[in-house]
Symmetry: C2
Subunit: 343 residues, 2 copies
């Protein structure tokens, strides 16, 4: 068993021949200790490999310099990229990140939130599994929360999301311009504002062209490959298959591609495929995949910025004016989309 008994400030003070508070002042460089004494203290610190006990400090200051990040599914590369943004920005400001994976279970999410509160993290970034489950704990005497990827409810909360409506509107317009009229949309769970906004964006574009998304062409999946695969099969083998399929997240698109390959349906000559979220494999699969790329890394950094602002030591009023930051996405046209076939 490791001897977790590191040196304390008292030890440093003794070695340096000064008092504890002097050491404290040097550690937190208050600039009130004489240069020569400072040097002595620093030498002692280095000699003992002293590092301040963050827990004790937090107990005293009320700040732990830890942020909690709770994501619904760490398996999704989208959230990993957001995590990178979060962590880089957190480090930049002297914070560590406690990462929690809800694994798409809202009860686990709640447990994570409780655990983070117990750890007294200074703030929480939350990509919720379900838009409403978290409502309970909100607004209690807990750390400020910034939502990412998804607006949890109508309530005014701090959040950073992609302009999903706009993104899908533009994506579907692009498909329509290619001549597609029978467009299928595979969305994620409709408990998420994210999914809802995306579907609405698709609807708007379609309606503007006096088209509709047929009932049987709007399917709900769950963000995994299998669901895309299954729905793809069903869609493509129906009596009146769509000429374009738009999956509202990237892994389902992999499933579609696989279904396409199995059924030997040429893409894009017979069916076009477009998906939300870019991925590193997107231009390597064949055909390369047309995607709508979210500024995911920036979503992470922006969320941390917003959170740090709420944490203070800014004005108290920051509680009163929650912000919703809307990020723009970009359409990456590749090989999987093309003009509708004449047949």
């Amino acid at each position: 068993m490791a001897k977790q008994t590191s040196y304390t400030m008292r030890d440093v003070a003794r070695l340096a021949g000064v008092s504890i508070s002097t050491v404290s002042a040097v550690v937190n460089n208050k600039g009130i200790v004489g240069p020569e004494l400072t040097a002595v203290v620093q030498k002692a610190i280095a000699a003992m490999h002293f590092s301040p006990h963050a827990g004790a400090r937090g107990l005293r200051t009320g700040r732990t310099h830890m942020l909690g990040l709770v994501v619904q599914d760490i398996t999704n590369p989208f959230f990993v990229e957001a995590l990178r943004g979060v962590e880089d920005q957190a480090i930049e400001h002297g914070y560590e990140v406690l990462v929690c994976n809800s694994n798409d279970q809202s009860d686990l999410e709640l447990r994570h939130l409780d655990a983070l509160h117990t750890k007294r993290v200074d703030g929480i970034l939350l990509a919720p599994t379900d838009s409403y489950a978290v409502r309970e704990t909100l607004g209690r005497d807990r750390a400020p929360i910034v939502f990412i990827d998804c607006i949890p409810m109508k309530a005014k909360v701090n959040c950073v999301v992609t302009d999903n409506f706009d993104a899908c509107y533009n994506g579907v317009r692009y498909l329509i311009e290619l001549g597609h009229q029978r467009i299928a949309v595979i969305c994620g769970r409709l408990t998420h504002s994210t999914s809802i906004d995306r579907v609405e964006g698709c609807r708007k574009a379609v309606q503007e062209s006096n088209l509709v998304i047929r009932e049987e062409h709007l399917r709900q999946g769950d963000s995994h490959i299998e669901s895309g695969y299954r729905i793809g099969h069903s869609l493509l083998q129906s009596s009146d298959p769509p000429t374009a399929i738009f999956t509202l997240n990237n892994r389902m698109a992999l499933g579609i591609l696989r279904a396409l390959t199995e059924l030997k349906i040429p893409c894009p000559s017979r069916v076009s495929v477009m998906s939300f979220d870019d991925a590193d494999w997107a231009e390597v699969v064949s055909p390369s995949l047309t995607t709508i790329a979210q500024p995911t890394y920036e979503m992470g950094t922006a969320a941390v910025d917003l959170l740090l602002r709420s944490i203070g030591p800014g004005p108290e009023q920051s509680e009163l004016k929650p912000q919703q930051i809307l990020l723009k996405s970009t359409l990456r046209i590749r090989g999987s989309t093309g003009p509708v076939s004449k047949s």
Copy 2:
């Protein structure tokens, strides 16, 4: 600014009309408080949404119930899968995980390690960027470390790794059985035991069949798509191209596939491709990719188990007998490998 002033045990004790230590006993259910009093206390706890201050508790007990996980590159799905295993197992045992991404920079890694020490995590899981950089901090009065993915040096340390030698030996034997004689190997940085072991495994298999890996067919990449792409181009356009390419990690394989597509070289009829690490896109790309799959999730869980054993409260001797856990991988034969062409 959030009022981070949650209720304390004193508040609960006052409300419940008992003493602080009774509350403490209930919270840590020591089983020494009478059932009716326990009920009263629990009601008070619930009413106030009390949750114990983990920092204060850690200060007292010397345990923070936090584990640090430092990975060289969170962008790599391999480490994400390991992270999942780590987190699930940690939660299972009442631990949280502080995730740090070294981003392939050993100085950042060192900073993370220091930060984790300051936070007094109970133990550290480390997938090092470089096998030697970390040596300094080792063995100081710090938390126990378990290495994953990579054995950092000859020193006896706790680690959980795939049997890389064996995996590659079997992989190359498979290629040889398909008739391949000119096999190219694209490895990662040779500062890692991981890369070294893999290359050695390849060498052994080749030598057993009285073959060699030509100098120009052993290339070093960096685990990203671009490097695979670049090396693929170079390899395939050389005067004497290999008939099989074995990339020692999965993202480089994506690069190879892209080079193959661009050069219109049919796979596997002209060149076979095999890679280390499985991925969800592996069976969707065309051709689907033959891979050597590591038990990555299990690597994470096994590492946590090992770490928790070192943390105690077991016998002191656990320090003295570091374990190296070797995991077996499996060959997943798919469409990208086939018999060598007769031409």
